[in-house]
């Protein structure tokens, strides 16, 4: 364990938003001055070795980004043949956003039961959903909603044209638990 290691882990997990020195200091339990020194140390170490990422300060936010010289590979990733259809996961997320917007990533994941950041990223990339605001909650999570492209893709004049959802699947009221599940194979 080292402080630069801790800083790297923290900034890595923080994602594209970056963190202020104050926030980092809080997490690492260091003074702001000490934090700044650790940041510079990490910056230095990225420069010295063949890393693909580096630490930059942009508008007061410290964040990890890929080094510019590797942009060629990211371009390759971005232009990797995009299929014209959507994955099952993406379709599911899109359905949730369409019917439950505005909605945050956490809420989407709670409904689906699984991590959904990749599917969300795909949909943002395909311009079917977009950030429509921020939730008043810790970390101010992004709220997603559908876009005009979404309406066009599905031939809708407005969101009101979305077909009404079937009611929650009916649970037969008077069915006892034992009738629902057949007896266990026992002697």
């Amino acid at each position: 364990m080292s402080m630069t290691g801790a800083l790297e882990a923290v900034l890595f997990a923080a994602g594209s938003e970056g963190m202020t020195l104050d926030e980092i200091a809080e997490v690492l339990q260091l003074s702001v001055d000490e934090t700044k020194a650790v940041c510079q140390e990490l910056q230095q170490s990225y420069q010295e070795r063949d890393s693909g990422i580096e630490l930059v300060e942009l508008g007061g936010m410290w964040q990890l980004v890929t080094k510019p010289e590797y942009a060629v590979y990211l371009r390759k990733m971005a232009t990797a043949p995009i299929s014209t259809h959507l994955s099952h996961a993406a379709l599911e997320v899109l359905a949730i956003v369409a019917y439950r917007q505005p909605i945050s990533r956490i809420e989407i994941e709670a409904i689906r039961g699984v991590q959904s950041d990749r599917a969300i990223q795909t949909l943002v990339h395909r311009q079917l959903i977009a950030e429509v605001g921020r939730q008043e909650a810790p970390g101010r999570p992004i709220l997603y909603g559908t876009t005009t492209t979404f309406l066009q893709t599905f031939g809708l004049r407005s969101l009101e044209d979305l077909p009404p959802l079937p009611e929650e699947p009916e649970v037969p009221q008077d069915l006892s638990l034992f009738q629902l599940t057949p007896a266990l194979p026992r002697d």
Partner: protein
């Protein structure tokens, strides 16, 4: 005491049995079935006393234990007398089940530990690669509005029922009440078959409660059960205790 919490931890009858076997350091390959049955029944009644719901599986296991116990009491046919006769240990099947369940518990614990380790590992959301894409992505094709609705409908089916909103009508059946009811009927009938006694029972939950109540009555020596034929109907006889029974009639 931590009794309650411990009771609630049992994932099922096999879990409870394994616990008893471990607690008393018994040999799983030579289970003293009478002792274990007694302890098992004691746990069930403790659960009842604490008003914990006893799942039907626990009761089924009680019956299985009692059945094994009675088979153990039968004289084993001598080897010369009956060749190829069924002289397997009546406990064999249960032992195999316990061993398999024990492996299941071991594996579950391995998974839990790995899950804990893995929860110490964090990732990051994928980078928004739009700035690197020279052109607009091609429009999405081949999905209709119905695919979208269908995706949502299938999703709802996948969400566990307890997370959906549904009204469940509860009916609390207490073993104590059921004991009173059975005793009342027995005082009228004096003698009954199990089937007769419980004929008004409509659900399995109620059936289980009746059965538990009957076991309790037997334990309290208020009724006596006899079975004339193997697999025959069980005769239940009220144990007369002076006049109190008569007075209530």
């Amino acid at each position: 005491m931590a009794y309650e919490i411990v009771l609630e931890q049992f994932a099922g009858p096999l879990d409870l049995l394994l616990h008893l076997i471990q607690k008393h350091e018994l040999d799983i390959f030579d289970i003293p079935i009478a002792t274990v049955t007694e302890q098992y029944l004691a746990y069930l009644s403790a659960m009842e006393e604490l008003s914990l719901e006893v799942a039907s599986e626990f009761v089924v296991m009680a019956a299985t234990l009692l059945a094994i116990k009675s088979r153990m009491l039968l004289p084993r046919p001598s080897k010369e007398a009956e060749e190829g006769a069924d002289d397997t240990d009546p406990r064999e099947e249960l032992v195999q089940q316990l061993l398999e369940y024990q492996r299941c518990k071991w594996a579950a614990e391995q998974l839990r530990e790995r899950g804990v380790l893995q929860s110490n590992v964090f990732s990051r959301p994928p980078l928004d690669l739009r700035p690197y894409a020279p052109n607009e992505p091609p429009p999405v094709e081949g999905v209709s509005l119905w695919d979208l609705v269908d995706a949502f409908r299938k999703l709802l089916l996948r969400v566990p029922t307890e997370e959906r909103v549904a009204e469940i009508q509860g009916q609390v059946l207490s073993v104590d009440d059921e004991m009173d009811k059975l005793l009342y009927r027995m005082r009228i009938l004096k003698k009954s078959t199990f089937f007769e006694l419980i004929q008004n029972t409509r659900s399995r939950h109620a059936l289980v409660t009746s059965f538990l109540a009957l076991l309790e009555l037997m334990k309290a020596h208020l009724v006596r059960c006899t079975q004339v034929l193997a697999f025959g109907d069980i005769q239940i006889v009220l144990v007369e205790k002076g006049e109190e029974g008569e007075e209530e009639l």
